[in-house]
């Protein structure tokens, strides 16, 4: 049986406003419990919501950036259910008339393939508070600081077919909201959360299979793992003759599996109706075009420019434009280097990103500045050091905060390009390995690599690889 996976993502991004969506409480993260929960946030008797204009503007910017329609009239609706972190017993959200409808996001995968993922809608709503359970026997403690923080909920069409596509889409949305400065994208703090709707069906089937919703996944890695686990789980259930239950599940990263959420056994009847305390939001063409004029260079535009201006593949361009900060860093390196965009791209997307990830740092806190990296790459370009040695120098620069030149000098890492020392090293290796020499000359071509390795070792890795190869060919050939 050939199975097809169908994935849709619902992303909740906290909007980076100063105050909450319906009250003037601060949205700053990390305050003492309930210090940032005012009467409106607490749902006290008699209080009323008043809409934050910045939240509306941010939602519109997002809609414009994804090519969606901005609703000239949108309505807030109450989503009614009981939960301790939901003070009013309802969440103010949008239901039938969201502020943004339609739109799309183009993604590029590592293998170069590109897909357009449809976006059904994006709407404004308020966040709930938090429940804390640690160290409280039989009780939970409710902190409502987060209650009322503005969210934009972005719902994709069920257009994704692999976990990798889902991750690429999630990363692209993450990039976009940060470019627009509408969300800080901080997943550890919960500013950017993802629910994945996953189902499978037989290839060629028209109807969608029953889906499971995996809630609140807060890392790109977990999204991929959770989806892959869930797909395998569903296939196993179906191949065993069972049925997939429509339910909400949680991803457990410690066990690497999804499991059913006990507290949401029954489907909730949310009894949506338009919130009578809020009037319809009406936006005229002038308001919308005013915001359109303020849009920054968007990720796709920047990636396209990078691809054509720097001769990069679409995938590489997308990696380098994942954030404005990273893109700016890259462009600075190219400027300092006076060229070599591909070399710079390899190093920024490769080594630099690797070290940033390893140390949990954002590009803004990189331990190597663009000019310093450019100086290192200049030494590769002018053959002072090989690319391989450069990696060691890079690590030392990261660690010791010294310049490339200082490290190269201190450790004597200059590449050997003169024929004399290289020939001498080759001669020594040939003399030390008569047997292999004879075998090579007798036709065992594979031994060439052996001689390369030995000769490189004899020069402490400093021989210019290209010249070493040429000279070896000459001398081994006899």
């Amino acid at each position: 049986m050939a199975w097809e996976t169908v994935i849709g993502l619902e992303i909740h991004a906290q909007l980076a406003t100063h105050s909450k969506i319906f009250s003037s409480s601060s949205t700053t993260f990390g305050a003492v419990p309930n210090a940032q929960a005012n009467l409106v946030d607490l749902g006290y008797p008699g209080v009323l919501p008043v809409l934050n204009g910045a939240a509306v503007r941010m939602a519109v910017m997002f809609g414009l950036a994804i090519g969606a329609q901005i609703a000239p009239r949108s309505v807030f609706a109450r989503k009614n259910y009981f939960y301790p972190d939901l003070p009013k017993g309802y969440q103010i959200s949008q239901y039938e008339l969201p502020i943004v409808a339609g739109g799309h996001m183009d993604i590029v995968l590592e293998d170069g393939s590109a897909r357009r993922i449809g976006i059904t809608r994006a709407h404004l709503e308020e966040d709930a508070g938090k429940s804390l359970h640690e160290g409280l026997p039989g009780l939970s403690g409710i902190d409502l600081n987060r209650a009322g923080t503005p969210l934009i909920e972005i719902v994709s069409e069920p257009d994704m077919r692999t976990a990798k596509e889902a991750v690429a889409y999630m990363k692209k949305i993450h990039t976009l909201v940060r470019y627009l400065r509408i969300c800080d994208g901080n997943m550890q703090e919960g500013s950017f959360r993802c629910d994945a709707n996953v189902s499978v069906r037989q290839v060629g089937a028209e109807k969608l299979g029953t889906r499971a919703e995996i809630k609140n996944i807060n890392s790109f890695r977990y999204v991929e793992k959770a989806i892959n686990f869930e797909v395998a789980r569903q296939i196993e259930v179906l191949e065993g003759g069972g049925k997939v239950v429509q339910e909400t599940r949680l991803y457990d990263p410690d066990r690497g599996e999804t499991r059913s959420m006990r507290s949401k056994e029954e489907a909730n009847d949310y009894r949506y109706f338009p919130d009578p305390d809020l009037l319809p939001v009406e936006l005229d063409a002038e308001f919308i075009s005013g915001l359109a004029a303020q849009l920054p260079e968007l990720p796709d535009q920047k990636a396209q420019r990078f691809a054509s201006q720097y001769g990069l593949s679409p995938y590489d361009a997308s990696v380098l434009t994942a954030s404005t900060e990273l893109a700016d860093y890259y462009e600075q390196v190219v400027r300092e280097l006076g060229g070599e965009p591909k070399l710079a791209a390899n190093w920024v997307a490769g080594d630099l990103s690797g070290f940033l990830n390893r140390d949990g740092l954002e590009i803004g806190h990189s331990r190597i500045a663009p000019a310093a990296l450019a100086a290192l790459l200049a030494r590769v370009r002018d053959n002072t050091i090989s690319g391989k040695i450069a990696k060691d120098v890079f690590e030392a620069m990261w660690q010791d905060q010294q310049s490339a030149d200082a490290i190269i000098a201190a450790r004597g890492l200059q590449q050997i390009t003169d024929d004399g020392p290289i020939k001498a090293a080759i001669a020594a290796v040939m003399a030390a390995n008569p047997g292999q020499l004879a075998d090579y000359r007798a036709g065992k071509d594979k031994l060439f690599g052996f001689f390369v390795g030995q000769a490189m070792k004899a020069t402490q890795g400093k021989a210019n690889p290209a010249r070493l190869n040429e000279l070896l060919k000459q001398l081994l050939g006899g």
């Binding site: 009467l39 607490l42 006290y44 008797p45 009323l48 009614n80 003070p87 017993g89 009578p276 305390d277």
Partner: protein, 484 residues
Amino acid sequence: MHSETVAQLKEGLRARRYSAVELARSLLARIERAQPELNAFISIETEQALAAAAEADRRLAAGNAPPLTGVPIAHKDIFCAAGSRTTCGSRMLANFVSPYDATVVARLRAAGAVVLGKTNMDEFAMGSSNENSYFGPVRNPWDLTRVPGGSSGGSAAAVAARLVPAATATDTGGSIRQPAALCGVTGLKPTYGRVSRYGMIAFASSLDQAGVLARSAEDVALLLGAMAGFDARDSTSVERAVPDYVAGLNQPLRGLRIGLLKEFFDAGLDPNIEVLLRTALEQLRAQGAVLQEVSLPNLPLSVPTYYVVAPAECSSNLARFDGVRFGHRCENPRDLKDLYERSRGEGFGPEVKRRIMTGTYVLSAGYYDAYYLKAQRVRALIAADFARAFETVDVLISPTTPTAAFELGAKTSDPVTMYLNDIYTIGANLAGLPAISIPCGFVNALPAGLQIVGPHFAEERLLNVAHRYQQESDWHQRAPEAYR
């Protein structure tokens, strides 16, 4: 002092015929005496009142005191008042002390009014007889075996019994006007959005409005002027200047076009009330008004429409009462579900539970279109009927209630029978229109009320008509025997 109007008291205080403290003391004594038989108050705030009165006297002596300085009032216990127990007539909030002032409370405080206490009401404003209060029923000062009307029964009884010259109240389906009619006082529900709802515990958000009960149109005008106006904390509050409601009171009525609501002179109306109404209309005609019959064909659907919309909104508005952050919590909850179910089951009375359940039902999956959406469409039809009528008339006049005050317990067996009391008043709430009820006579020694409805923001006109009528009649000055 107790039979003086707000207008007279303002004058008396300014002329130092009595001090604010004397005035407050005198009324507080009346309130205490009347409390066992009327039960009009939930909280009598003697200390705070006397302190506020003392402050009022200081400001009066200093000069430049705000317009209502020293005037004693009461607030319906639905208005949050900082530091004051605010119960909404319910066990759910029996011990709730509000940390903040409703905008209405703050504005009247800023105007210098002295609050004597919080009045009794139907629980969460749901009722037409004030028999649904956790704190016991209120009795009608005209006949203690009868209801004062609801939900603002306490405020209406307090004003009728001359315990306070004026009291705030709220009206969602008639809760100011109906008790005004049953208690022989004047009660105004302003246009939706005219007065801020911030701090007014919500029952049905698209219908609720804060208003005034007093003994004359002039007094209502004085209080409305202090209460009304845009409030940034209420998104449904309208940005529109507040006129001087007193200035236009004496406008002659010549040429006033009065529409008589055909649908309301029907079989359900007590014929004695009809006689009183027709007599009142003649008085207005004598002042130059012109009468014509108008038909609002969808108006008879007001009650069913209301009993979908109001419960739907209240079922959601009352979900915040869950025993977590404030309000009644059950003892030893077994788990979260038990906490919710028992706290709410114990905290709410039967009528509140009925309406929450009705609202939950009409919003639930599969019923939303047939009930809620349908009701909101009929609401649009009713509003359109009114708008069309106001193209040819300036005001609409009808009886306020089909009967005079009924006996306690007479209508409690079937909720629908009780609901039908609001048949003449509900339309104005659905369409957001201002409406006033004024006394127009007596039926078997019980007061009857006449309702005047106007287009949006026509409060001045309504007060003008009411005032001109009250200049030529004295029904509004009659007092129940025991409270003269």
